[in-house]
């Protein structure tokens, strides 16, 4: 079942156009990677889908309902959550308070306690730091907190902007293991990443964005082909 559909999306900042006719879709329990060099519009795409930026044209629909142009606080209630670049946890608040904020966008408030327990089970490291100031967590723990917080709104689609940014390789493995569990629970996950090899290996499908357009689509088997990856990423094989 297709959860999110983006069709012919144009977006940007003021008079500056960044995305030119992006189309993609994702189904429940699937993962989609988005890779590309710096400044090609990967984060802009996620921000536009999540409602932070109003698209110039095109359509975005979630579970068949149009979400383009809606406010971020409404979109999260409809079932789409974004983990922004740099994690953006509230460093001055405690871990528990950060998690409580994640419940704000949850429609079914009655199941909040159960959801919190499930999240604590999925991310046990957050349990032992529940009362600590979130800013004091390590980078990997902060990333887990950001993902846990986003999951508390019970999203059907989870967007992650550079989840491996600033993390040690072993921590990246931990984070992606958690993502596997989330996908297994039928959540659709879209990951924007600089690390093309990592995300191409991980995701069911990976699209390469250059110049604001989708230039190529890759499968996990393509990750082994360095030449192909390089060509898709930079537009040249040399």
């Amino acid at each position: 079942m297709t959860l999110l559909t983006v069709e012919n999306l144009y977006s940007g900042y003021g008079k500056v156009d960044v995305l030119f006719g992006i189309s993609l879709s994702i189904s429940a329990g699937k993962s989609l990677g988005i890779v590309g060099p710096n400044g090609v519009g990967k984060s802009t795409l996620l921000k536009t889908i999540a409602g932070e930026i109003t698209p110039k044209s095109g359509s975005i629909s979630l579970l068949g309902e149009t979400i383009s142009g809606r406010k971020p606080e409404d979109i999260v209630r409809m079932g789409l959550s974004l983990v922004p670049e740099g994690r953006q946890i509230f460093s001055g608040l405690s871990v528990t308070e950060n998690l409580m904020l994640g419940l704000t966008g949850r429609k079914d408030k009655a199941s909040s306690k159960v959801a919190l327990d499930q999240i604590r089970e999925l991310f046990p490291v957050l349990n032992s730091h529940a009362t600590h100031q979130a800013g004091m967590l390590s980078g990997g723990q902060q990333q887990q907190l950001a993902i846990a917080r986003a999951l508390l709104s019970n999203p059907k689609v989870l967007l992650l902007d550079e989840p491996s940014l600033g993390l040690a390789p072993t921590v990246i493995i931990d984070v992606f293991e958690k993502l596997k569990e989330i996908i297994a629970n039928k959540t659709a996950v879209i990951i924007v990443e600089q690390r093309a090899h990592l995300v191409t290996t991980f995701a069911d499908e990976t699209v390469v964005i250059r110049d604001g357009q989708i230039q190529a689509s890759l499968t996990p088997s393509d990750a082994k082909n360095e030449e192909m990856l390089r060509k898709a990423y930079f537009g040249t094989g040399s």
Partner: protein, 289 residues
């Protein structure tokens, strides 16, 4: 004892004014100069309705200030959101002046006066010392309000959302915090706080004119700067310090009290030299990077 009680009383009043300003600044990053006019309107209402029971008179004043705060948000600031801080700041100046002139048209340029809660101007003897009832009531009232605000900010969902939004509004919205509702709530609470400030001042000074709330608002602004504009606790503390110092200076400077503001601002300069971001600035928060 009376000078100390007066200092706590004035400090508490300024803390409430600073808290009202800090609440709106937290969510909108706007210094709302029109906060002064919320204080003024509540004082006007208290004077005009002084023949009614005090509680009814205050409820009317609080209702008017709160509704006016919400109207300013809906009619002015909401429309200008996203235009940039400079335009919002100029709009708040314009709104402040516009409201002052409106008061002049409605209530006249000359002061309106009537004794509000005259029983509060009397004094009582505590442990052999005479203290004014108004100081006692003010201290008790401000302590209660500050405790209630502390509870709201620290233990309620609205308070958590306020703290999150004042730290990073964009991310708070991504988590589902409804921006319009939160901002309107902040204005409503700041209007209510302004009503308490208006009530406290008008008891001591029942001469209300269009610029009645301006002086305390400007000094409360100084307070939020020295307390730490990014923290609600800092705002309240800064406001308290300004009011406390001013009261002590006015009491002990005698004929030299004309220099009270000079000494006050000297103290402000010293505080800012030691803590440039304010006493409780979030710059001092520990963060692992």
């Amino acid at each position: 004892m009376q000078p100390l009680l007066d200092a706590f009383s004035l400090g508490g009043t300024y803390a409430l004014a600073a808290l009202g300003l800090g609440l709106v600044f937290g969510v909108l990053k706007l210094v709302n100069f029109a906060h002064a006019e919320l204080i003024t309107i509540s004082a006007y209402i208290m004077v005009i309705t002084n023949d009614l029971p005090l509680v009814i008179s205050f409820i009317l004043a609080a209702f008017t200030a709160t509704v006016l705060a919400i109207i300013t948000e809906l009619a002015v600031y909401r429309r200008l959101r996203g235009t940039g801080p400079a335009i919002m700041l100029i709009a708040s100046f314009g709104l402040s002046v516009g409201l002052q002139k409106s008061y002049e048209l409605i209530f006249g340029a000359l002061p309106r006066s009537a004794a509000v809660a005259p029983w509060m101007t009397g004094s009582v003897e505590i442990a052999g010392l005479n203290v004014t009832i108004s100081s006692l009531v003010t201290v008790a009232l401000t302590v209660l309000i500050l405790l209630a605000m502390g509870y709201l900010v620290d233990f309620t969902t609205l308070g958590l959302q306020l703290r999150a939004a004042s730290s990073d509004f964009k991310t708070a919205r991504l988590l589902g915090v409804r921006s319009n509702r939160l901002i309107t709530s902040s204005f409503a609470i700041s209007g209510l706080l302004a009503a308490f400030v208006g009530f406290i001042i008008v008891v001591e000074n029942p001469q209300v004119e269009p610029m009645f709330g301006l002086n305390i608002t400007i000094l409360a602004l100084v307070g939020i700067v020295i307390g730490g504009i990014s923290s609600l606790r800092g705002c309240a503390l800064g406001g308290f310090i300004v009011g406390f110092i001013l009261s002590i200076l006015n009491t002990f400077l005698g004929n030299a009290r004309v220099y009270a503001y000079s000494y006050l601002f000297l103290a402000v300069v010293i505080i800012l030299l030691v803590r440039p971001g304010g006493i409780l600035s979030k710059q001092n928060e520990m963060e692992r990077v």
